[in-house]
Amino acid sequence: MNDLPRTQHIFASGAIAAVGVSVAYISFTQEPADAFVFPRLIATVFAILAIWTFVKAVLGRTKVGQGLSGQDMRNLLPGLIVTLIYAFWAAKELGFYTATAIAFFILLTVYDPAPHTEAKTWVKRVLITAGFIAVMYGLFAMLLNVYTPREIFS
């Protein structure tokens, strides 16, 4: 295992160990105790296994998991940012259909291997986005009667 995954493994398993220890701490300190009998059982095993994994990562003995390369991170970062903004902010604030159309179009544009210099590819992306939104509207608004947050343009 090279240095990059080792550091990543320490960071990832450290975060899980922190969650495991926090869960154990909360389970053993919160009241009423009877409500935490089962969580205590789980939290004990959780914390032990998480600390074990963390120690193995620190010692460089983690054998499983490739981590993330710099190239992977560079590739996924734009999509990750769009996903976070779409799911945690835009869907509620702009409305589902508006937010989905914007996120869908941005993702198509960012990840489409077709050249950005040709007008034809932009038209194609707009048409695919419009088609997808029409299908989603038909399925969720008309067929399933799902009432989504108010659209910003309505």
Binding site: A43, V64, G65, K92, A103, L144
Partner: protein
């Protein structure tokens, strides 16, 4: 023979229409690299809300069956398994396609899938009611151990690291405790208003199975699916049938291995296909031909991975213990309709469960029929750019999770779990045990608390949970599965170290 009584229900216009929709849709989605059967079924659950329970299950069951079989299309024509269950199919299937026998490979794969699948569903039909009667003997202590068994077996056998598999299971069990405690009414681990009512299972399933695949597509950057689609030549279907039935050994090995493996919780189609392929190769007088485009390789692998589908539902329908991640998603589909599987399922809801099982029987035949005709065309789905696929799945995940309870909290839960799962997977953690923990957590806790109350009033906790042959049998299986996985992991490591040293 209760199943015959409800056979007519499959052929009502709506039910049969849904069966057709699930079968054709499943075949196309299964042929798409990157869309696993579990993710496909999870994304389809929101569309079943408006349907009657049996209709929803028919749609989900048909999608499950045909996505597994549809995965063979991309395995054969692109050398990219549509699902992990189709890995073994690529070994001989793609070589056959390269030799100009693509149509023959596709035809024998669908015929073998249907035969294996039919056998598996018959096993489900005849085994489930027997096991359901037997399951009535299970008390709280046995059900508690059974839930723990479900998590540990899938955690150890389905993961590349035993510790990380068990840790994933623990995370799932912990997530299941978030919300209000049923007995004391106390708040537990409520760190955000989105989870005040606990974690809703459907958004969690969508997030855990769909979002990591979306991010994985992002991680590949601006690139198309880099595989050449082999053009399929015409091949007479009758000859394909004769070919399959002349290879009885491979068919029998595939079907029996798939059925047995399907019954073991946690051991999925990927293992079924590979074990059947390996056994078929060992027992064949033409073992040297395996890997060079031998039809027996395709027959063994495909009959096994579809024979596994029916039996993987046996523990789910009898004991509420999903045998595979896709069965866990199907459990989610049952729960949203207020149906709790278990020993009483066949007496309380025969009008739901029998049409569902029967539809899987009919679905195998439809899958074979449509598979034979649309296989070559379905491979074109692989031409859909990754950017479109990722954006479509993300949109469906957000809409699908919102539609469960018309709550933004569900969308936040879906996105948070999905993003966390992608990074966890990069570090060797697996979604399957986490999902099983999340689903089986409430069953384990309810039975643990009920058992503890009985124990306190009678013999004490230790005696209650650690006596009785059934308790000990379950404990032994838990210990054995962990021990076996540790042994396998150590053996694998020794082998890898030796290989590295010799290189």
């Amino acid at each position: 023979m209760d199943f015959l009584y409800y056979m007519g229900d499959v052929f009502t216009p709506i039910n049969f229409g849904l069966l057709l929709l699930g079968t054709i849709g499943g075949l196309i989605l299964g042929a798409t690299p990157g869309l696993s059967p579990t993710m496909t079924v999870a994304l389809m659950i929101p569309f079943t809300f408006k349907l009657a329970p049996e209709q929803g299950l028919i749609l989900l069951g048909a999608a499950y069956t045909s996505t597994v079989a549809g995965g063979a299309v991309s395995a054969i024509l692109l050398k990219i398994p549509g699902a992990p269950a189709n890995i073994a199919t690529t070994l001989d299937g793609h070589t056959m396609a390269q030799k100009g026998e693509g149509a023959k490979a596709l035809q024998i794969s669908f015929i073998a899938s249907a035969i294996g699948g039919l056998f598996g569903v018959f096993l489900l039909i005849f085994l489930t009611p027997v096991l359901a009667t037997w399951a009535l003997a299970f008390g709280p202590s046995e059900l508690f151990w059974l839930a723990i068994l479900g998590v540990t077996v899938i955690g150890t056998l389905d993961s590349s690291s035993v510790v990380k598999g068990l840790l994933s299971g623990c995370i799932g069990l912990w997530l299941a405790t978030i919300g209000f405690d049923d007995i004391m009414g106390a708040q537990r681990f409520i760190f955000h208003s989105s989870v005040s009512g606990g974690i809703n299972i459907i958004p969690a399933l969508i997030g855990l199975f769909a979002i990591p695949q979306v991010i994985a597509m992002f991680a590949k950057g601006r690139s198309n699916v880099d595989a050449e689609i082999i053009v399929v030549q015409r091949h007479p279907i009758g000859a394909a049938f004769r070919e399959v039935f002349s290879r009885k050994r491979a068919l029998a090995i595939g079907t029996s291995v798939g059925s047995i493996i399907g019954l073991i919780p946690g051991v999925g189609g990927q293992i079924a296909g590979l074990v059947a392929y390996d056994q078929s190769k060992k027992m064949s007088p033409e073992s040297g031909k395996f890997g060079t485009g031998h039809p027996e390789g395709v027959i063994a692998a495909e009959s096994a991975n579809n024979a596994m589908v029916g039996p993987s539902l046996v523990p789910l329908l009898t004991l509420s213990i999903p045998g595979s991640p896709t069965a866990a998603v199907l459990l989610g589909g049952l729960l949203i309709h207020g149906i709790f599987p278990g020993p009483s399922l066949f007496t309380q809801y025969p009008q739901v469960v029998w049409p569902f099982i029967n539809s899987m029987l009919v679905g195998q035949i439809l899958m074979c029929m449509f598979g034979l005709f649309i296989a070559g065309w379905a491979a074109n789905v692989a031409r859909v750019p990754r950017s479109v696929m990722a954006a479509v799945v993300l949109g469906l995940a957000v809409f699908g999770s919102y539609s469960v309870g018309h709550s933004m909290g569900d969308v936040y839960v879906m996105a948070s779990l999905g993003l966390a799962m992608y990074f966890l997977e990069r570090f060797g953690f697996s979604a399957a045990p986490l999902v099983l923990g999340l689903i089986l957590g409430p069953i384990a806790e309810a039975n643990f608390m009920q058992g503890a109350m009985i124990a306190n009033a009678t013999v004490g906790k230790m005696a209650y949970f650690f006596t009785g042959w059934l308790n000990w049998l379950l404990i032994l299986i838990v210990v054995a599965s962990i021990g076996y996985s540790i042994w396998m992991e150590l053996r694998q490591r020794r082998y890898t170290t030796k290989e590295e040293a010799s290189a």
